[in-house]
Symmetry: C2
Subunit: 223 residues, 2 copies
């Protein structure tokens, strides 16, 4: 894959199509990861890339839309990776194991997109993505389809769960819990060690065994 096309038009002008656009995205990822979304401003962004506020506004209506774009990009990218990874797996249990493993392990940089630092982008997802949901505009944003990459991702997992146990009635909830809570557990491990049992020495494998056990126990016990 050499292109992640974000279908959701949260931009005024496609940043993937111009040099300036790429610089905007690249520097946004870096600055939001560094400063946090609250302190990130278009003024700072423009200064960073040696451009102007006005130019940034030609690509994105505001910083909220820019964040929506980054998140949609992330889930589109991850979905594509995941499909490649699980395409040839027939057994749904094995497939779900693979999915959980994929979600728990830290991302690696993708050489196809040299202007985006995927590791910083994932930090942004863990730290900031939930904020884009919890706004008074969430229903409008959803209607515009800004979250559809994220929803597609959840539906993919949900379907896999359903083929493991067609009688389990809460696959959507279980899948959304998985996605949301992996981010939360990663966050808690770093910032709230007292409410996490993950070992610093094998965080990734603990995280994976926590969720693996949780999901499969749930899917396999009768309701």
């Amino acid at each position: 894959m050499t292109n992640v096309s974000v279908k959701e038009q949260c931009y005024l002008k496609n940043p993937a199509e111009t040099k300036l656009g790429e610089r905007i995205i690249g520097a946004s990822v870096q600055l939001i990861a560094e400063l946090g979304f609250e302190r990130f401003t278009f003024k700072r962004l423009a200064a960073q890339i040696g451009s102007t506020e006005a130019s940034v506004y030609r690509y994105f209506e505001n910083k909220h839309k820019l964040l929506l774009y980054l998140i949609a990009w992330y889930w589109t990218w991850r979905f594509h990776q995941l499909k490649m990874l699980t395409d040839d797996i027939k057994d749904p249990t094995e497939k779900l194991e693979k999915i959980i493993h994929f979600l728990c392990k830290p991302v690696e940089v993708d050489s196809n997109f040299d202007y985006i630092n995927e590791i910083e982008l994932q930090e942004i997802i863990v730290a900031e993505s939930i904020k884009t949901l919890h706004t008074k505009e969430v229903d409008d944003d959803r209607k515009h389809g800004y979250f559809s990459a994220f929803k597609d991702f959840i539906h993919f997992i949900s379907e896999c769960m359903n083929s493991i146990n067609p009688n389990y009635p809460y696959c959507h909830n279980l899948a959304s819990m998985l996605i949301d809570n992996i981010q939360e557990q990663k966050f808690n491990f770093v910032h709230f060690a007292t409410i996490s049992n993950l070992s610093p020495k094998k965080t990734e494998s603990d995280l994976q065994s926590f969720f693996s056990h949780l999901i499969f126990s749930t899917l396999k016990s009768s309701i």
Copy 2:
């Protein structure tokens, strides 16, 4: 109980001790529930209660601290209710059932605190509380103890889980998942119906059976 004392000093002056303080808290709950935290300002709050911005600033350093106060109040209040409710239950399984039930069902107004609308306050918890964690200042805030009411709550549940299955190694993670995700599932049910299997006709009981099954399947299956 006639008083919820928020130990965490996220205030400059205790709002529970003055008439103006009570008006500040009461109107904050109402305004944040109505406008969302982003659009809520001390100027609007002051106008609402017929006071001034300067006066509000004498109670709280900023609106972030005020939100921390409301959240600490909520968890202190809920913890107190929960302990009363489960105090006489000896069997940990029965106790955890009760806890899950308590968490899933919507709150009721508490006549002990006439200046706070607990129903609006819970809406705030569902919609806004996660934002107080996901900031660059989270480590400072945690060190100041602003989240300790929340952590106490989680530890209480975690201990109950531990007595059900002392060999299960992720009680903290499971308990924090439960608290976090109940809020998220409530939120998703309202705003992302396509990723929720909860029936509009029996949302509360579906929510409860989803989590009940999830938690007990996990605790009872060997790891």
